[in-house]
């Protein structure tokens, strides 16, 4: 009789690092079938909330753990990496030859240019994009920039990795992504100023001036989420079928070897 699979649920943005970590896990536990499943982090939390059973869950925002999963589904969750928001593009994107950290919004708002983001109700990269736009309005002193960028954004994908795929395939010309995802896919990127890229704990108070209203866990419920530095976290759910093996994987991800994998994937282990 075949064994029940060891199930890993992770944010789409973590596809490559989790894939590489799971390969090491399979070497450690060769008799245990492993299933990897990815979605936007809020969608991941919703799957657990609605009864899904997983052994390890790795999400792109600690706030998702705090608001959806602790304490009913997860006891402890461990911050293991950070990142920054960037504007990703490729050399065929219109205006790619002149885009900089100062004029990116003008390039994106040029006639005919197509840019995209992920869905803020499903994916932290989506609500972080909206926060970046709010902070940009203040940082660059451009009243109305947030609304203009939001209104003109015609492509919205369920999770950031889908958005990245759309950029690779040329369906969008610019995408708001994590730097690590852009690097993994060999995309070009414009680094944004630290005051808007959600990278630095030193600017946590400033980031908190941005906020986005999201759908809550229950139908009709709305929650306000404020900006914060990007932090990825991992946990062993309380109902994991393989808690011992799951703890091994979490220790691996947060240990020296796992940190090297994360760094190779463009994340900042912490």
């Amino acid at each position: 009789m075949s064994r029940i699979s060891f199930r890993i649920l992770h944010a789409g943005a973590l596809r490559r690092p989790m894939g590489e970590c799971s390969r090491v896990f399979k070497e450690r536990y060769p008799d245990l079938p492993v299933e990897l499943e990815s979605a936007g982090s809020r969608e991941c939390a919703a799957r657990i909330f609605s009864g899904g059973i997983y052994d390890v869950v790795a999400l792109a925002d600690t706030a998702v753990f705090a608001s959806w999963l602790v304490p009913d589904y997860v006891d402890n969750y461990y911050v293991f990496a950070t990142d920054q928001m960037v504007v990703a593009f490729d050399r065929y994107s219109r205006g790619s030859g002149k885009i900089t950290g100062d004029n990116w919004m003008d390039v994106l708002l040029s006639p005919g240019v197509i840019y995209g983001r992920s869905d803020h109700n499903l994916d932290p990269c989506g609500y972080r994009t909206l926060m970046v736009w709010q902070l940009a309005e203040k940082f660059y002193g451009r009243p109305g920039l947030y609304k203009t960028l939001k209104d003109r954004c015609s492509r919205i994908y369920p999770k950031s990795i889908d958005l990245a795929g759309a950029l690779v395939e040329g369906r969008v010309e610019y995408a708001f992504l994590y730097s690590s995802v852009a690097r993994q896919l060999g995309l070009c990127q414009v680094n944004l100023p630290s005051r808007i890229n959600l990278s630095s704990p030193a600017l946590a108070g400033y980031y908190a001036t941005a906020s986005v209203t999201l759908e809550g866990r229950k139908p009709g419920e709305r929650v306000l989420l404020t900006g914060a530095p990007i932090e990825f976290a991992v946990a062993v759910p309380r109902n994991a079928r393989y808690p011992v093996e799951a703890r091994w994987l979490v220790e691996f991800i947060t240990g020296a070897e796992g940190q090297q994998i994360l760094e190779n994937c463009g994340l900042i282990p912490c």
Binding site: T62, F65, A66, V70, P71, N76, Y77, Y78, V79, T82, S194, S199, S200, P201, A202, L203, A204, P229, E231, A233, T254, A256, Q259, I268, P269, C270
Partner: protein, 131 residues
Amino acid sequence: MCKCSCSWNFTADRLLLPVLLFLLRLKPAHGYELIQKLAQLDLLEGEVDPATVYRNLRRMEQEALVVSSWEATGTGPARRKYTLTSRGEELLDECMLAVRRQKEKLEKFIRLYENECRPDLQGGESCLPQG
């Protein structure tokens, strides 16, 4: 250069290591908190780069200058908390000797400049070696 086996040498942009050692000597802390304190202290050139801080903390742990453990706060996330080791304390003391030596050299250079190039600022006699 320090007399110990470390490779630390003072320049303004390399204060990060001794400042991290100093902050951790005051109390154990996690990287998130250290980045906030580094920004408040404003001792380093330019902005505090989180990636550089986290990379330094990992290297410091590999060199046994700090040890880390997970600390959870209530329902908040668990973060890696760093504690200074005795080896880290020794290195901080050695770094500070090098900082003081560099401070003396910089002050001497400023005096030379003011005496030789801007006597209006000091009005003193030349302190250059004769001959």
